[in-house]
Amino acid sequence: MLDETVIYKARKIITMNPDRPVATHVAVRGGRILGVGSLDDLRGWSKRDVDMTLADKVLMPGMVEGHSHAFEGLVWDHTYVGSYERRDPDGKAWPGVGTIEALIARLKEAEARLGSPDQTLTGWGFDPLFVERRLTAADLDRVSTTRPVVVQHASGHIINANSLVMEKAGITPSTNSEFILRDSEGRLTGEFAGQVGRFMLAKAIGGTGLADLGDRPDAVRRFAKAAQMTGVTTATDLHNDLSEKTVETFRSVTAEDDFPIRLVPAFRGTHTREDAVAYIGSLQRYNSSKLRFGLVKLIADGSIQGFTARLRWPGYFNGSKNGLWYIAPDELKGLVKRYHEAGLQVHIHTNGDEATEAALDAIEHVLADVPRRDHRHTLQHCQMASAAQFRRMAALGVCVNLFANHIYYWGDAHLAHTMGPDRADRLDACATALATGVPFAMHSDAPVTPIGPLFTAWCAVNRKTLSGRVLGAEQRISVMDALRAMTLGAAYTLKMDADIGSIEVGKFADFAVLEDDPTEVNPEALKDVRVWGTVVGGRIFPAPRT
């Protein structure tokens, strides 16, 4: 069927091809785009009836999520207790939880659905800033005293536990650690930070409670659905050990006809296996139209809001001491060199501007030794980069994928605590990327924030924070520039722009199918543009209706 020629009519086709920016018809054969234009333009390919399925829709190139994690498919094993509405991969909307009572009620409902009586109940995405007081063990004891109850904070750094978990872990009032939070009278609250929390969970429930993706093809499908229903047709899983089990799962799942995205995993570049380069080479033999190995991910520092990102002078606005190197700068040089020499593309997580500097130093150093054109090494997040750093990126041929969603979710915190006014204005500096000619994409880092390219584009266009303030008005970009970053821009950072990212002859027939025209709506309503579904390789995938 896919070998037949089908001409689709649409209300409008936004192509991202400057030669033919808009069109009304697209012809598809064998999963690829045969032609774009008017019906007359395409009649030479086929005389058959025009397919009217999408006749009243607006088509865009399928969106490309350049920084997400398939882990998104696993978090929905557990109960969402975050502060804002979030849709699960079945399209069900989970309202934000704004009070402790609402949180307890949500967990109680979930508790009633759990099977075995000693199974752990886990809530995730909790943000203590948006409820009236700190969550305590006594609150969670109201959910259950007979099974472990754990709530993971959105920061990824803190957990809350009920009394049973503390008891099982052997935590007592006399356990002495600055990572065990206490109330003003010195009593345990049931909040635990960092590795202390992980240690406690490992002792009490035998691990983090999260499954291994390699064992969970259903979770990979769920991740794909979560992406698909927001208009995404290609998504990365941007940090994965790629164990043989996971590789096998990815291969089998992506081979399914109804798997709705192209999956691009990135290998964890600090993996201790000595044959890393050869291993990636061996994986690339499995590449298909729906699965593409070859990216390498390195993580240089932590997160800004967790005060673990590495900042240059003058450091954190609230005086916190500088963050953590996850890879020392010298080591980073060695790792970049290893993969660069092998012809691979390296994506480097750098949140703070000092980490960005070290990554640029590493790339510059390696390029002086081993010049290579079109390497497209990409800085991921790169949230605090200065204009001078963007100019270095341009000079070195480095791409950037900016974390535009951060402006909304953490912009207020960056202004007040981490970066302060002034530097917060250049948070995720899309306009500087444009001005300096650095090829750029934007991302959600799902499940850190919800996957949703139109929302991400909205963030870059409006730069509104949760509190409603505009952060760094000069860094706002146009709707078209934002949409380009979410399609062709991201495709370029993955070296896939020959195949995806625009509606153009020869590329995969990957479309985002929209009910509204994102270039016509008020830019402030960009995030509200309705997604009808997607087309991937000529196959139509309607989004689940709620």
Binding site: A202, K203, K321, W325, Y326, A328, D330, A358
Partner: protein, 332 residues
């Protein structure tokens, strides 16, 4: 409950952590569990390897060596759940980690006890490293977290550079105890808890007076077990370090003891032994001090006579043993 001591070995990349771990694994008579970041760098002699199972290597001397992989927490719990619990757990911190953070884990579990945070430093690179724009603060924090600093590779230092490196340490970690070393070779009993030694210590006849001292390999006092672990006695160690015993006839007031320990001269690197305090004059407490960190344990299960007897190990160069003994005797 018998607590398993935990020692964290920290230090920046290239400081010699792996060399030290290799050294400890080869020269121990305890069943160590050593958690390392990278197996590949641990150079275990093939004949020492009894079996290799995924993330764990079992050595013929009873030690195990485990790869930390992605989760230190899980690796540590795995070691704690071993059928035969190790006598001492040694954790290698990553080169960019603050070892004090890792040491936190040992305070969380009633069956663990922090023995010490030992930080190695590459002495020839130290002055440059602390000025490095990217990692200067990391190196500084590591040194400040140390109970005991091993100033490694001193054979590669000129006199001038040695002074520079020493000045850096004095400035950044004025309270730390420092040992100089070549190839990270330091006596195991300085770093780890030499538990078995204690029994011998407690049953040994007390020497005359308030204690006795020796300053090297020529010492013939039978109390001084220079070669007590049966491994090679390194003459250079013996010349670098002096030992000295401290004893007291009457129970020592606990508060005064704490002040004494906190105020010890920096050349005292290690104290171990039993001490009778005024809190329980019939049963001695177990005192362990590594570098500047000390613990008093009343819950030990050792079957010992009610008396005070401690062994101190100090840097030999300017160590005034008699003064130390006088100070201790004055506590009674």
């Amino acid at each position: 409950m018998v607590r398993t001591p935990v020692t964290v070995i920290g230090g920046f990349l290239g400081a010699g952590k792996t060399t030290l771990l290799n050294h400890l694994l080869r020269h121990t008579d305890q069943r160590l569990a050593v958690l390392v970041n990278d197996f590949g760098e641990i150079n275990i002699d093939a004949e020492l390897i009894a079996s290799h199972d995924g993330n764990t290597v079992n050595l013929s001397n009873g030690c195990i060596c485990c790869s930390i992989g992605d989760s230190l927490v899980e690796a540590l719990i795995g070691v704690m759940q071993q059928a035969e619990r190790p006598e001492h757990i040694v954790i290698e911190a990553s080169g960019v980690a603050d070892p004090a953070r890792i040491a936190e884990l040992a305070t969380l579990d009633a069956s663990l006890e922090l023995n010490a945070v030992v930080v190695l430093t590459d002495a020839p690179r130290l002055p440059d490293l602390v000025r490095d724009k990217y990692v200067g603060d990391v190196v500084e924090q590591q040194l400040q977290s140390a109970d005991l600093i091993i100033m490694n590779k001193i054979d590669r230092l000129s006199a001038i550079d040695r002074r520079d490196a020493t000045e850096v340490l004095l400035r950044l970690a004025p309270d730390a105890r420092v040992i100089e070393a070549v190839n990270a070779s330091v006596p195991g009993e300085l770093v780890l808890d030499a538990g078995r030694d204690l029994d011998a210590l407690a049953t040994a006849p007390p020497s005359s007076g308030t204690g006795s001292c020796c300053h090297g390999p020529d010492c013939n006092d039978p109390d001084h077990h220079h070669d007590h672990h049966g491994h090679d006695h390194d003459r250079r160690h013996a010349n670098l370090f002096a030992t000295c015993t401290l004893s007291a006839d009457k129970p020592v007031p606990r508060a005064a003891l704490a002040r004494f320990l906190d105020g010890l001269p920096k050349d005292v690197l290690r104290l171990k032994g039993l001490v009778l305090t005024d809190e329980n004059p019939s049963r001695p407490m177990l005192l362990q001090m590594v570098g500047r960190r000390w613990t008093l344990d009343a819950d030990h299960r050792l079957d010992v006579a009610p008396k005070t007897r401690l062994v101190a190990i100090a840097v030999a160069a300017e160590f005034d043993a008699a003064n130390l003994q006088r100070g201790f005797a004055a506590l009674q």
